[in-house]
Symmetry: C2
Amino acid sequence: MVRAVSDTHGEILAAAARQFTVTGYRGTSLQDIAREVGCSKATVLYHFANKEALLAELMAPAIGVLRDLDDRLTGLTGSAAQEVAAQGFVDLAVRFRREIAVLRGEFPELLCQPAFAHIQQISDRLRDALAGHSERPGARIAALVLLAGISEACGEFADIADDDLRSALLTLVRRAVEPVDAALPQQPTTEDKDS
Amino acid sequence: MVRAVSDTHGEILAAAARQFTVTGYRGTSLQDIAREVGCSKATVLYHFANKEALLAELMAPAIGVLRDLDDRLTGLTGSAAQEVAAQGFVDLAVRFRREIAVLRGEFPELLCQPAFAHIQQISDRLRDALAGHSERPGARIAALVLLAGISEACGEFADIADDDLRSALLTLVRRAVEPVDAALPQQPTTEDKDS
DNA sequence: TCAGGGTCTGACCGATCGGTCAGGCATGCT
DNA sequence: AGCATGCCTGACCGATCGGTCAGACCCTGA
């Protein structure tokens, strides 16, 4: 039967999402969330086992998409990996701007928790793919800067439509990433690494 | 008289720098810092008025250089502003990787405090300069992503020499930034949304 | 009518936070 | 000797954190 008389669970989730994006995970207390919802802190902890579980449920969709992207990257190398990584990550960042913004600055601590332990490895693989699996410092630096910058920045463009932001970010990434294939005729680098 | 028998003040500063970069400002307690130094928490608060003062003294050199860069940007427009902003910020980011990493994720809250209130405005001007003072969303997005990404990423390259990191970042920025002059001033923009 | 389960709450807990304070302990000056 | 000063500390404070718990308040089905 329809039980939508009061969707407290959903309201808590929504309030947490709002506040996490503004003040961060650690910077938001269960009290703050309860106050916005208009319930008690105990009610928040009735609907969610603990604060971490609240965050986990909030991030679940984004993490699912991230995992899908990770799967699609397996086996790809060179510019193919770069293009899939670029498109996939930009799309993910745009769609889940808010969720990504939640993690702003709290990655190191959050990744230690079991619920998010695997994200570090996925994002490492994503960075490698965006660098075309190149070992050149320039490629690795560019990939890291782009991933970090997009994660950090996409939360600030709440006023830009998804499609516009996506195309702008995609052209930026394509322009900024070191082309791994086309770089070969350019110049022989000091160390020769073939992929 | 040289009284360098025990430079507790400096030791506290060094320990705070180390811990802030690892666990962040909020994530590091005065107790943690005192433990690493080998003194009591009260000693930390004897040498520094409060936790914020500790952070302020830690960031002072970086903030000074940032202010200098801001001064050098006044009056510059177009590609000249872009180039000065790029060189200045990359140099600053490389020299003060650790200090910048401290602010990771705590910008919104820290900038509310009076000691750091002006940084937001400076970084806004820096972003505008890197965008060549263009109003195009693409230029603004690229500038923001680059600034955020470099800030976020430069702390992770502790193993790369300053000169190498600087040149890599500079080529990345020059490649990624939207050239403002090449698009010639006031183009009728036959197609601005279409791509 | 009553039993029972889902929902919600105030009161409370231990831990930790940043910060205060009175005083101990050297050292150097008069 | 007496005193001042700089450095340091343990004990303590109020506030806040995440989390627990017994019980109140529905609503529904028997």
